[in-house]
Every structure is written in structure tokens, then in C-alpha cells.
């Protein structure tokens, strides 16, 4: 018996034109948590697809417990005890937790489903690994955290020994992340081998034993976490030093650009307002950050400001003009730009080409539409190509790439290019760095600060505490739909901020 649960040796996978995995080696020890780190497009997904049998590598071998194996499809992977928690959960929403766990592995008696034994096994696993779930609740009614625990139970129910977590923390709230870390440690202690795909360095530092780094399809190295630092990891990942501290000059706030008075937004889910009686201003040349735990009304606040939802009360004015009842397009023309929270839902038309997405908010301007109402394709192409170059948006076929085929980080860059190049007076950026890698985060932060220095008003909504402390000039804390505090980043600690975000403390606005 070797010490490795899975070894992937010298894997090479080519697609038309590109080498997605070039001679990559990954060795997963039994009972360890092994992080797989790399930027978007570094080849992590391809490597995992090879392990899962979705792709066949051109070169290289896979060993399980020292024996060579061939994995031709996901069923083979399952048989070998390899399970995966996908980034986007594979759960049937109108089924119960229990049904989702047993799906594909049902036990029957006389042709009819018999769930008693399955239920017993699930409850035992749930207790043993502290994975609290309600077996009879429907997936659509439970929290994201519990959905993820259901996914983990799915793997355990199948007696999987090798567990792959694909960016599992991207969808979780802060406390749920801490819980997941504990769960992962518990699983490893019980002898499960875990592959943890992430680009959040602090999580890797906290939970992993070793880390393999990929860059642009190539193997960079494998390091012991106890011998390394986040700085070293990120340098290996992006191939250069990345600064974590954001360099910026002091803000020089000017005139008021956004003025919000007693704004309320009704909630879709319950009777209480999602946003209740909120007033604040954003001046030119400053970045204001709305901080808070996910689900405390930030989404609705932005819907109200961008025009996606009507206000139930209050007014919004932009550059002194009342825009409370203006349409989304009118607000956009008047100088609002919006980098939305959900880039697939509100940011891009995924099946459009990149260039169409880039002119999505400006196609009607005379620059892109002639007097007969026809699109000026040549100008659009040139404009898109300029932005693609300036903002380093990478894609398979340049301006004509289908947006869906692009990586998440590059989709985000395309949105940022579009929104910033519109030259707005007021820029809304909602979790602009969500799901993008360290290199891109640095780039996005620089862009936001450059906008500020160019005299724009920037409103940032963030769930990442590092971002909240580093980027803005003022912090507004939102709790249950209300603003419960306003601070300068240098007059508050992360711990104190946490107390305001959880509602333990509040102070009236200055």
C-alpha cells in the first residue's frame, strides 16, 4: 500500500489549439487536505474533469492506491470512490434532502422505494460528521449551507474515500465558511482524502496540509502549507509578486453625486421592508463601501439604486437631479454604471458574443447606430477590440467569442470594461471580486481606485472583510435593511465591524 490515495502523473490534455493541462502531476495523500490553487483558466477544472472521467488525457497515468486505473466516465470515478461537491450544486430543488442523497443509489423492496435503511444511514453519517440536515425538508426551502451539507452527505452515502470540493466557500456566508472548514478537518481526521479547489489563500492556509499550484496549464509546484506564506503562494500562482495592501492616496471628496433620502424597498420574501429608511450620500472622489453579512438588504438597496426594483418610499438624486422614477436606461444615460452582483443574471447575455455584450448599454448611441437604425458593426468591433485590449479580457476567439464559453474572471473583466469605459459619474460595484482570482482582484481594486481618483463617486458592496477594510474611504454597515453605523476604515477594527454586522452593536449615523 502506497501513501497516496490518488496519483495523477504527467497528465497532458489538449484541446483544439490550446494545451489545457501540460504535464501536470498531482499526488493526494491518504487523509490529507490537499489544496489545488490556480487562477481562472489555469487548468484546475480540466484536471478535475480528467479525474472524473469527463475527459480522456492524451498523456499521463492515474493511480488509485498504487494501482493504475482507467477512468472513462463519471460512473468509473464513482466506483473508485471519487466524489465531488460541485461549485453549482447538483441538487433537485423540489426533492427532499433524503431523496437527493439516495438518487441513483436507491434501495427498493418488491420494486418499491424503501427509504428506512437509507434514512438511518444518512442520519448516522450526519451525526458522525456533524453535518446537520433535515432529511425531509425540500432543497428549495433550506439554506445554501444545508444544501452543501446535503452534497457532502451524498458523497459519504456512496462511501466515497476521495472528496473533491470545487470552490466550496464561494457561496457561503462567513459563519458557514468556518463551519465548513471544521467539517473538512473532521472528514480528513476520519481518513477521507480531500482535494480542495480554491483561490482564497486564507482558507487554504487555514485548512490545507499541502497545496499544488497550477499556472496557465502548467504544474508550478507542490508545497507544504506549514512552510509557506500567502505571499509565496500567490506569487507562485500568478508568477509575480502581488500586493495585498491596496496603495492609494487619501481621498479628496468633492461635490455630492448620489443623494439618497429615506429610501425603502419592499421585500419579495416577507412583509418587512428589505431596505428600511436609508439615507446616505456619495461624493465625487470617494469610495463608499456598504458592508454587511449577505442577505441584510444590500441586494435590494442596489436594485433600488439601479432601478431594478421600485422604491416603496424615499428619493434618490443623481447630480442634484431626482431620478427616483427614472428607468434603468435613463439612469444609465444620466451617469450611473452598475457592476452587478450576479453577472450571469444581470451583467451579461451569456449566449451573445463578447462584442455585443460590450456595447449592450451603448448600442443605441449615434456612435454605434446609424440614422436608419442599423448597427454599425465595424465601429462596434473596433470599440470592443479596444476594450478587450485595455482591460486584458481573455477569450477563445476575441470579440466574437460566445460569452458563456469565457471563464468567470474574464466575464467579470468584460463587465468592468463596459461599465467603466462608459465614463460614469456614479459607479456601483457589487461584490466585484467575487469568484475571481488574486491577480484579477488586484486589477479590479486598482480600477476602482483609479475611478475615484478621476473624480467619480464609487459605491462598493462587499462581503469580504479584507476588501471592506482596504479599498473604501468610508464604510456603511448594513444590518437587517438598515444602516447601523458609519466609519472610516482606520477608526475601526475588523472585530468591531463584525459586531455591527451581526447586529450586536449599532450607532446612529453621524
Amino acid at each position: 500500500m502506497g501513501e497516496f490515495a490518488i496519483e495523477m502523473l504527467h497528465i497532458t490534455k489538449r484541446f483544439a489549439g490550446i494545451v489545457a493541462n501540460d504535464d501536470i502531476t498531482l499526488q493526494l495523500k491518504k487523509g490529507e487536505i490537499h489544496a489545488l490553487l490556480g487562477e481562472n483558466g489555469a487548468g484546475k477544472s480540466t484536471l478535475m474533469s480528467v479525474l472524473f472521467g469527463l475527459y480522456q488525457p492524451e498523456e499521463g497515468k492515474i493511480y488509485k492506491d498504487g494501482k493504475e486505473v482507467e477512468i472513462r466516465n463519471p460512473n468509473d470515478a464513482n466506483d473508485l470512490g471519487i466524489g465531488m461537491v460541485h461549485q453549482h450544486f447538483k441538487l433537485v430543488e423540489c426533492f427532499s434532502v433524503l431523496d437527493n442523497i439516495i438518487l441513483g443509489m436507491e434501495t427498493t423492496k418488491g420494486g418499491l422505494l424503501k427509504k428506512d435503511d437509507a434514512r438511518k444511514k444518512v442520519m448516522e453519517l450526519s451525526e458522525r460528521y456533524h453535518l446537520q440536515v433535515e432529511p425531509d425538508a425540500l432543497i428549495e426551502d433550506i439554506t445554501v449551507g444545508m444544501q452543501q451539507r446535503t452534497e457532502i452527505l451524498k458523497m459519504l452515502y456512496r462511501d466515497n474515500e476521495i472528496l473533491i470540493f470545487d470552490e466550496p466557500t464561494a457561496v457561503l456566508a462567513v459563519q458557514e465558511i468556518a463551519e465548513l472548514m471544521q467539517i473538512m478537518k473532521g472528514l480528513a481526521a476520519e481518513g477521507k482524502s480531500i482535494l480542495f479547489i480554491s483561490h482564497k489563500l486564507n482558507e487554504i492556509m487555514e485548512v490545507a496540509d499541502r497545496c499544488t499550484i497550477l499556472r496557465k496549464g502548467k504544474y508550478v509546484g507542490t508545497v507544504d502549507i506549514k512552510d509557506t506564506t500567502p505571499e509565496k503562494l500567490s506569487a507562485m500562482m500568478v508568477g509575480r509578486d502581488v500586493s495585498f495592501t491596496v496603495d492609494k492616496k487619501p481621498a479628496r471628496p468633492g461635490r455630492v453625486v448620489l443623494d439618497v433620502n429615506h429610501m425603502s424597498v419592499a421585500s419579495n420574501r416577507h412583509k418587512k421592508d428589505a431596505v428600511h429608511d436609508v439615507s446616505f450620500q456619495v461624493k465625487s472622489g470617494e469610495i463608499v463601501c456598504v458592508a454587511g453579512i449577505d442577505g441584510n438588504g444590500q441586494t435590494e438597496l442596489i436594485y433600488g439604486l439601479s432601478g431594478l426594483e421600485p422604491l416603496s418610499n424615499g428619493t434618490i438624486s443623481l447630480n442634484g437631479q431626482d431620478v427616483t422614477r427614472e428607468s434603468i436606461r435613463q439612469r444609465s444615460i444620466l451617469g450611473t454604471s452598475h457592476i452587478p452582483e450576479d453577472r450571469h443574471k444581470h451583467g451579461l447575455v451569456l449566449d451573445y458574443s463578447l462584442e455585443n455584450n460590450i456595447v449592450l448599454e451603448r448600442y443605441f448611441e449615434p456612435e454605434f447606430t446609424d440614422r436608419f437604425g442599423l448597427l454599425k458593426r465595424k465601429e462596434i468591433r473596433e470599440y470592443a477590440q479596444r476594450l478587450i485590449e485595455e482591460y486584458d479580457v481573455r477569450s477563445g476567439q476575441g470579440a466574437v467569442s460566445v460569452t458563456r464559453s469565457m471563464s468567470g474572471g474574464n466575464q467579470q473583466k468584460a463587465i468592468i470594461a463596459r461599465e467603466i469605459d462608459k465614463n460614469p459619474d456614479f459607479l456601483i460595484a457589487v461584490q466585484p471580486t467575487r469568484g475571481v482570482d488574486v491577480g484579477a482582484i488586484e486589477f479590479i481594486h486598482k480600477q476602482l481606485i483609479a475611478q475615484r481618483d478621476a473624480g467619480k463617486a464609487v459605491l462598493l458592496v462587499s462581503l469580504e472583510l479584507d476588501e471592506v477594510m482596504d479599498v473604501p474611504d468610508r464604510i456603511l454597515v448594513m444590518y437587517e435593511g438598515e444602516l447601523v453605523g458609519e466609519f472610516k476604515p482606520d477608526e475601526i477594527t475588523v472585530e468591531e465591524l463584525g459586531l455591527y454586522m451581526t447586529g450586536a452593536k449599532r450607532r446612529e449615523q453621524a
Binding site: N78, D99, T108, L113
Partner: protein, 313 residues
């Protein structure tokens, strides 16, 4: 009154069978708009068996007729299965094409066979006066219990059990809700969708033969099935894709359809100044109304209508 009950039950049986068929197809993720065409084909299969095997003893004849309808319905539904599942065609278009093709093909087919007494009189009808008597299970006064009503109830119970209490049902519904999830646990989505569509062909085919034998003893195939396939879709939506509710919806719709057959037997109704055409319109108007009111908040299988592509994330 007995007649009203009888017609209500027989039309409810038709709607129930066909709506259950739609229900299986949609739970697997394929919208089956071609039920109308499948019904016509099933009716054709059943009618041909009745015509060709008229000498069989009653019970055997019933089995043979049902088998004929199932065969025609299943084979015809293969069109949808291959086009929608393998070729990833637009399911709405294929279904619509199947409806157009169904009636037309059946008419051409029957005319080519030409089963009229007088060979020079080319007809699109098939007659089955004598054979039809085999379907009667028992008679109480005016009320005639048909074997088909029993069959519909049996299939209703089986459908419920299959959908909610078997491995197959759980997997089928997973394919209609979240095919990627089903795939990731080793379920063959394509196979399950084939199964769903072919079951709808089977049930739709039986529905077709029940419909044409419901009131009359010969069928003119150029008439198709008068939109019953679409009524069944309304029943399915009103029934929230659940067999139990579908059964209740089928009875309600069946009642309105039956009224147009027998309203003249009720003095109170006959005395009303309502033209018979209005009664004929009833079930269709009700379905419009029901769909307008209920389709907004009904919950269709999430992935229905979207061809499944393994490679797409």
C-alpha cells in the same frame, strides 16, 4: 342523468389517460405538444385492430385493441423522442408538426385502405358498430360501464405508484428537474427521457382509441380528435403535474364535455336559450380560463423543454 355520468366518466378517462401521458413526458424533461397527433395515431391503431380482428372473443379483442393503440402511439412518439432527445430539436415545433402530420397521415392511410362497403366511395372512416360492444363491462339502466374506465383508473393508480414510489419515478423526475444532477449520480438522462416520451406515446395512444369509441360507432379520421390532446395538456397543468390532481381535473373537464352531448336530455338546460354550439365550446373555454388563471403560479418541471447536452455546464 345516467348518460351524463357515463359521458363524463368516459371523457374524463380519455383526458386522464392522455394527461398522464403528458405528465410522464414532462417529468422526464420533454414537453409533449404532440399528444393530439399521438391520440389520432393510437385511435388509428385501435380501429384497425377492431376492423381486422372482429372475430376475436370480447376480452381478447379488448387486449388486442389496446395493444394496437399502444403500438401506434409508441411508434409515433418515437418521432418526438428522436428529434427532441437525440437531435435536440425544438420540442414545441416537433410537437406541432406531429399534430399536423398525425391527422393528415391517418386520413391518407385510411383512404388508401378504403374500408367502406362500396369500394367506389372512397372514405376516410372506419366503422366498428359490432366490435364496440365488447368494451361494455356492465349496464345499469342507461349507464354503461366501459372497460376503458376501469383501465383508466388502474393506469392512474399505477402512474401514481410509479412516479412517487419507485426508483424509476424518482430518477425520471430528477431528469426533468435537474438533468445535470441526475447525470452526476450516474443516471442516463437520455434513456430516462426516451422512457418518458414513449410512456406518453403509450398512454396517449390508448386515450385516442377511448376517445373515438366514446360516443359513436364509426370514426372519420380527417376530424382528428377535436383538440382533446390540448385539453389534456390543460388538464395536466391544472393538475399540477400530479396524477391525483390530474384525475380530478379530468373529471371536471369531462363533465363540461359531456354536457354538450347530453344537455338536451335535461329539460331545465334544454329550455335555456343557449345554442348547442355554446355547449360544444364549453370545455375549450374552460381550459382557456383555467390556463389563464392557473398557469402563472403552477410549477412545471424545471428543465422541461431544454434539450440535455452532456458537455454543457
Amino acid at each position: 342523468m345516467a348518460l351524463l355520468l357515463q359521458y363524463t366518466l368516459i371523457y374524463a378517462s380519455v383526458l386522464l389517460l392522455v394527461a398522464l401521458g403528458g405528465c410522464f413526458s414532462e417529468h422526464s424533461g420533454v414537453i409533449n405538444l404532440g399528444l393530439e397527433g399521438i391520440m389520432v395515431m393510437g385511435a388509428l391503431g385501435g380501429a384497425l385492430v377492431m376492423k381486422g380482428m372482429a372475430d376475436l372473443p370480447a376480452l381478447l379483442l379488448i387486449v388486442a385493441v389496446v395493444f394496437g393503440s399502444v403500438l401506434f402511439g409508441v411508434v409515433y412518439s418515437l418521432l418526438l423522442a428522436v428529434a427532441a432527445i437525440h437531435l435536440k430539436a425544438d420540442q414545441t415545433l416537433v410537437g406541432t408538426a406531429m399534430n399536423l402530420l398525425g391527422t393528415a397521415a391517418a386520413t391518407v392511410f385510411v383512404k388508401a385502405l378504403n374500408m367502406a362497403e362500396d369500394a367506389s366511395n372512397v372514405s376516410s372512416s372506419i366503422q366498428y358498430i359490432e366490435q364496440k360492444k365488447a368494451f361494455s363491462l356492465l349496464k345499469i339502466g342507461n349507464f354503461e360501464l366501459s372497460w376503458f374506465m376501469v383501465l383508466a383508473v388502474v393506469l392512474l393508480v399505477i402512474s401514481h405508484v410509479v412516479l412517487y414510489h419507485t426508483k424509476f419515478g424518482l430518477r425520471l423526475m430528477a431528469c426533468g428537474e435537474h438533468p445535470q444532477a441526475a447525470d452526476s449520480v450516474g443516471i442516463n438522462v437520455y434513456k430516462m427521457r426516451y422512457a418518458g416520451v414513449l410512456i406518453s406515446g403509450m398512454l396517449g395512444g390508448i386515450g385516442g382509441i377511448v376517445y373515438i369509441t366514446a360516443g359513436v360507432s364509426e370514426w372519420k379520421f380527417e376530424n382528428g380528435v377535436a383538440g382533446f390532446g390540448f385539453l389534456a395538456l390543460a388538464v395536466m397543468i391544472f393538475g399540477q403535474w400530479k396524477p391525483g390532481l390530474i384525475a380530478m381535473a379530468a373529471v371536471l373537464f369531462g363533465l363540461f364535455r359531456a354536457l354538450s352531448n347530453v344537455y338536451s336530455g335535461f329539460d331545465a338546460l334544454a329550455a335555456l336559450p343557449i345554442p348547442s354550439t355554446l355547449y360544444n365550446m364549453f370545455p375549450y373555454m374552460i381550459s382557456l380560463l383555467v390556463l389563464a388563471v392557473f398557469s402563472g403560479n403552477s410549477r412545471a418541471p424545471k428543465a422541461e423543454g431544454i434539450p440535455y447536452d452532456k458537455g454543457k455546464r
